[in-house]
Amino acid sequence: MKNIIIDKRLKTPYYKQIKQSIISAIEQGHLKDGHRLPTERELSQFFEVSMIIPKKAYDDLAKEGYLIRIQGKGTFVHARPKHNLPLNVFQSLEALESFVAPLNRRILLVSKIKESTPEAFKVKALAFAKHYPFYLLSMTMMHLEFDKLSIDASRSLIQTMREATVDCNLTHTRTLIRSGTASSEEANLLEITPHDPVQRVEVRIYDDCEQLIAIADLTFPAAHVTFEVSIHE
């Protein structure tokens, strides 16, 4: 209820005020996907307005795709964006770099893998797009100098790697895309349900001597991400 505002001193129609307050709450991330909104009756009693007003607001928003109304269950926020990713983001190092760079990221873990020669490090991060988890990244990097490794969320991990690798020239990648189901940890981080379908993308990054420098495992929530490619011959 706290996200919905009606100011009776304004000239804007009440139903428009309800609509605007819900849309802005969704856009700022206060109202999340699947959240149940108050019923029309609750709204009309709370604001002391006619039943028609919340009904018009909800119907309009449902038509515009912001809400889903289920008879007998309630009105729910439908806000999680669907991404259509062109397949070529994985097809060159530059595209991959620009893809993983600018997104909002939360670094979950940076650790040194014990008893490995050469030394290897693991970085785990969660990327967000518009308030929702977009993918989970788990990256294992070899041939790095740990002292030079400065992980911060605003920089691309591949850029960081380029700087921290020892005399390596990262040149190309090999990517495998597979199907899978989410483990409970992945589901928790990606805000989906365990056993929900996920896309698993494994990107192997090589240097110019065909030496494997890093493996990046990306996990996408399949209900919200699809890959696309256009072919011309």
């Binding site: 060159s92 190309h172 990517t175 597979r178 199907s179 899978g180 896309q199 011959e233």
Partner: protein, 239 residues
């Protein structure tokens, strides 16, 4: 040299121990613990290491042989060709061609051919208008006798009335198509798919939607491919 593995067998689950062994070994093939031409551990050793009855292991191996995942040789149980890494995602190559290139002996099996109504297929609305009668063809592609791809194709009968009589539909479509759009996602299996590809209902599989266009940008066919879990897409970046 075969690798000795520990299997997570849970006797409280309502799946039989034999099924759990079979499933666990398939998973080990998926995560590449066992790759093509590896030998699986000896049944006796595997049973001993995991405190199982050897008969259960033998039964599981026999089923895997029957399903085509492993081959019995004098030396032991060898892993058959298992993972499919499709490299043809950026080309208009046919499925049969792709399977051949991956080293499989392809075979096809038409499961169903029927005229359908668009009303039952809302996912096709963006390509055809609702008055179009459609021909629906369901095909199962096998490699080395093992089911690998489950393909459902829709063709408009209004634009291509000759297709019903056409003996070789594939050749007809193949010679006309000049571009395509592919969309790849991962979905839970439906009962039909599970049955055709020998999967459990809880599995998720890759689904590729292919839309083929002719020379005037008209839609030729729309198809949905469900791939077995051992299928993956391989993209190589240019140097």
């Amino acid at each position: 040299m075969s690798k000795l593995i520990t299997l997570a067998i849970d006797r409280r689950r309502n799946e039989s121990v034999m099924d759990q062994i079979r499933q666990a070994i398939k998973e080990r093939m998926l995560d590449k613990t066992f790759i093509q031409n590896d030998y699986l551990p000896d049944t006796h050793e595997l049973a001993l290491a995991n405190q199982l009855d050897e008969h259960e292991v033998i039964k599981a191996y026999q089923l895997l042989i029957k399903e085509g995942y492993i081959i019995k040789e004098a030396k032991g149980h060898k892993v058959a060709r298992f993972n499919i890494e499709e490299k043809a995602i950026n080309s208009l190559q046919s499925v049969t061609e792709m399977l051949k290139n991956e080293g499989f002996t392809p075979s096809t099996n038409v499961l169903e051919k029927a005229q359908v109504d668009l009303h039952h297929h809302p996912e096709l609305k963006e390509f055809y208008d609702s008055t179009h009668p459609l021909l629906y063809i369901k095909t199962l592609y096998c490699g080395d006798e093992r089911p690998l791809l489950y393909l459902e194709t829709y063709v408009s009968l209004k634009d291509y009335p000759q297709i019903v009589e056409s003996a070789d539909l594939k050749a007809f479509i193949h010679q006309q198509r000049i571009s395509a759009h592919r969309r790849i996602d991962v979905v839970k299996v439906t009962p039909d798919v599970a049955k055709a590809l020998h999967l459990e209902m809880a599995d998720a599989v890759m689904r590729v939607r292919n839309v083929y266009f002719g020379q005037f940008k008209q839609v030729l066919t729309v198809s949905f491919v469900h791939a077995a879990p051992n299928y993956s897409l391989l993209l190589d970046s240019q140097h």
